[in-house]
């Protein structure tokens, strides 16, 4: 038998929301796809493969590896065939081959930013435009996408969240009985796929017929203006950015009615649409959030002031049935996960998405040059261009195509990776507000020049017994602007915690190909809290704290992370603690008690300039 047997869709236990979403997708391909957030081993790929059997899209399910490159995605020059044929041959990328099919991406949240942007753009346009390596084409690329991700590793890129219709949150835990049944079915299927499929053949046929029927009935499903308005109102109440979500919600509601076999949309369809389309994009949840906020009193003052300039529209919907629908939809999903994700989305809405959208990776600067240096990579297309005009001449003497050493062009990579400046600001003590202002001013100045060097900034504040990441690495002034203004001050000085946090950021930046990291520590005091014991303020053992700092310092040196300690203490003490700190970290020490942002910027830029010079590309 040529075709492998897939696990039947109807035999999958649990994952109700995901199954429902996939059925809606099969009914209305205009929903574009489903993003499924679930932990490992939760049948995501089984679901995706089974989807192909119930949908009437072509049965081609293409699996996209998370580490796919843009070349593989949009294609490029087929060098071998180009040379053999003497004419340009394009080898199509995955996006063109996917036309009319279904893409499955496991770990969709770890796609490279540029790759995610391509997929999102193709989803939006239904085509791929290619202007590269001598090719100028536009291919149709209409496909559905099923993406799976483990929410513990972060969300998919916002470009994808924007373009993919439905998002399924992790569902409740399966019961023991269900688990047993899952295992048993899995074993049955493994032992005898054909037999297992046969046993479920009728259910599969029925489902397929139901979907096909719903698909033809879809255009006749009625939906009132008021119902569309309800969904729009819910989207506004949830603070959703952009106007695409409404469109997806309306489609989902219609498809839901069609699936049930009704010719008009009813409340349960709206509910499902809110649950699958709107809630996962929510930035705020007015009432429920209030309940959650009461647990964290130190934030309530800020959030209250946020709540003030609400539009009338939103105030009005407080008491409307929309609220009711939202609450019902929330109840249907797992609230802890919802809050966790909302916090992330909210941070994104305020500060923007961390790193994932950054253009650095897109900047594979591929101009070519004749000169080779160490580790040069040959640029094929320019090399062929250089060799091509001589072929008629050379052919007489040699084989079909001759490339001489002088033809070879090398890729020139422009140093697109700048420096990541991590500002770690001491928020303990009375001068914290000043330091914060200095740091903000300085990072503003760094960002003003960021387009030049491709630098990024991040901001960590530390006080009490912990360090908080206030601004994830960014190049956007827009995001830095929305930095939280007031910040609680006082308490201990957990320098180590801040540095550990900074190290984590540095490591992430390395993964994202940002090789240079500089930590700028603004403090006036000494480290007096250990990082290890959260909740335990351990001020006593200074030796242990120092030992810990030295250890961090060693790590920083071995990772080649530059650090600058800026002492803001107003009275200069030559044996100051900040100087000792700098020594322990192997960083530079600068005494700038009353320096403005300009002064600090100049100081760190002089350190940074040596970094830039030493960085050989």
């Amino acid at each position: 038998m040529g075709k492998t047997v897939e696990f039947p869709f109807t035999a999958i236990i649990g994952c109700e929301a995901a199954k429902r979403a996939l059925l809606l997708l099969a009914i209305d391909p205009g929903l574009k796809g489903v993003l499924i957030g679930a932990g490992p081993g939760s049948a995501k790929s089984t679901l995706a493969r089974a989807f192909a059997t119930v949908s009437s899209e072509s049965d081609a399910l293409m699996t996209v590896p998370a580490n796919i490159t843009t070349d593989n995605l949009i294609g490029g020059l087929d060098v071998e065939r180009t040379l053999a044929a003497g004419e340009r041959v394009y080898s199509p990328g995955l996006l063109t081959r996917a036309d009319g099919g279904v893409l499955f991406v496991e770990d969709i949240n770890s796609l490279e930013a540029g790759v995610a942007a391509f997929i999102a753009s193709a989803l939006g346009l239904g085509s791929v435009k290619i202007e590269r390596e001598g090719f100028s084409s536009c291919f149709p690329s209409r496909f559905l996408i099923i993406g799976a991700y483990d929410p513990a590793d972060g969300l998919p890129s916002s470009a994808l969240i924007n373009r993919v219709g439905m998002i399924v949150e992790p569902s409740r835990m399966n019961s023991a009985d269900e688990r047993a049944e899952i295992i048993s079915r899995s074993i049955q299927f493994r032992n005898d796929p054909q037999g297992f499929a046969h046993a479920h053949a009728k259910a599969e046929r029925d489902l397929k017929a139901k979907v096909a029927h719903a698909r033809t009935a879809l255009p006749n499903v009625e939906m009132t203006r008021e119902q569309i308005k309800t969904l729009a109102r819910a989207a506004v109440a949830l603070g959703i950015v952009g106007n695409l979500a409404d469109l997806f919600a309306v489609k989902a509601a219609r498809a839901s009615a069609a699936l049930i076999g009704r010719d008009r949309v009813e409340e349960e369809d709206l509910l499902l649409a809110i649950q699958l389309v709107l809630i996962p994009r929510a930035v705020e949840l007015p009432q429920l959030e209030r309940r959650a906020e009461s647990i964290t009193p130190d934030q309530s003052s800020r959030n209250n002031s946020d709540a003030l300039p609400e539009s009338d529209e939103r105030a009005a919907c407080r008491i409307s049935p929309v609220e009711d629908l939202i609450i019902k939809a929330v109840d249907a999903s797992a609230p802890e996960i919802l809050f966790e994700r909302m916090r992330a989305l909210k941070l994104e809405a305020k500060l923007g998405k961390r790193g994932a959208l950054m253009p650095a990776d897109r900047g594979r600067a591929v101009t070519s040059q004749i000169k080779a240096s160490r580790q040069s990579k040959v640029a094929l297309f320019p090399t062929l261009c250089a060799a091509a005009p001589f072929q008629a001449m050379r052919r007489k003497r040699h084989g079909p195509i001759t490339i001489k050493k002088s033809d070879i062009r090398y890729k020139r990579f422009k140093s697109s990776s700048g420096i990541l400046f991590i500002f770690a600001v001491d928020a303990s003590g009375s001068m914290a507000v000043n330091r914060m202002a200095q740091a903000k001013g300085t990072l503003g100045r760094v960002l003003q020049k960021a387009y030049l060097y491709r630098d990024k900034v991040a901001l960590i504040s530390f006080r009490g017994d912990k360090a908080d990441l206030l601004l994830p690495p960014t190049r956007s002034i827009e995001r830095a602007k929305s930095l939280i203004d007031s910040l609680p001050a006082g308490g201990g000085t957990p320098v180590a915690a801040a540095l550990v946090r900074a190290l984590e950021l540095a490591k992430h930046a390395r993964i994202r190909k940002m090789s240079q990291v500089m930590i700028v520590l603004l403090t006036d005091g000494r480290a007096n809290v250990r990082s290890r014991l959260p909740g335990h303020v351990d001020r006593m053992n200074q030796d242990e704290i120092n030992e810990e700092l030295k250890k961090i310092g060693r790590t920083m040196r071995s990772e080649a992370i530059e650090s600058v300690v800026i002492d803001t203490k107003s009275k200069f003490v030559s044996s100051g603690e900040a100087r000792n700190l700098a020594e322990m970290l192997g960083g530079k020490y600068l005494y700038l008690p009353r320096a403005g942002a300009t002064g600090i910027h100049e100081a760190i830029e002089s350190v940074a300039s040596t970094l830039r010079e030493n960085h050989v590309v």
Binding site: T82, A117, G134, L247, K440, I477
Partner: protein, 368 residues
Amino acid sequence: MKAKETSRKNSSGQPGRAVYPFTAIVAQEEMKLALILSVIDPLIGGVIIMGHRGTGKSTAVRAMADLLPPIVKVKGCFYGCDPARPNEACEDCAARQEQEGRLPSERGVVPVVDLPLGATEDRVCGTLDIERALVEGRVVFEPGLLARANRGFLYIDEVNLLEDHLVDLLLDAAASGRNVVERESISVSHPARFVLIGSGNPEEGELRPQLLDRFGLHTQIETITDLDQRVEIVERREAFERDPKAFLNDAKPEQNRLRHRLSRAKKVLDRVELDRGLLRRIAELCLALEIDGHRGELTIARAARALAAFEGRSGVRFSDVKRVAVMSLRHRLRRDPLERIDSGALVEQALEEIAPAVISPQRFAAIK
């Protein structure tokens, strides 16, 4: 060196796909006005549209392409040279004109060229036609996107993510109106006058000031929160997807009206008057906002004239200046990058200050 004629059928939009009509776009008035003005007067310098995802930026740009009045081109010229402007012609046309005198012309469409994600340098500025080089051993220049965009529009979505070396190329071409290629045994210079249209999401990074400065107008676009408008968006979009033909048919009268207005405005543009007093006021506005250089004044003056032409008037009024000032100056203010006040609000404030004295009731009645 001859330029190779390649297929141009995909120069705008998607193959065989209907384009959503411009007149059916709900709200977003500032963006629509900015696009309209830059169609009327290409010298304004194009538009940059910044806003969140899913707010219809690229829909609007693609819709604009559908409104452009036809132009006259030299027959068979890849660059679409203007027969009436021999001094801007490409080498081929210049040589032909020398020999043949008047060149044959034809009506053609204004190109709207997409600079897609991942475009490589060779496709942007053009390069050697490798096929002919391999087969015939001849060096033939294959024009790129800049050539195709000549006399038209170049659209860059996610313009703030554009690679640096491509930005450099664009800046050079935009400044000189020519594209100079010196690579892979090619040495070509050809006309590349195009209007830049860019769009992007401000949360994804800043634009280089030099590039930002190249855009005449800067508009911001927000998520629509008005419920009726949102419902309207959904209903129109659904109607369009369900039956594009019928939708386009319904939109036709209004589309044609707008097309007509645009080509009329283009015709009368040169005759629209802008008196010295008003020019002075524009200069005062830019002075009050401490704007470097004169591009601010020039842009306002051009945009205000285009607006007057669009409204069918022969003279510019202060109200025209008011309507175009924010989009002309938003990106030209020198300011603290972390300033929270919107640049647009600052421009409006300055406008209030330089506003003309209160109009007397008699005059007001006369205007009405």
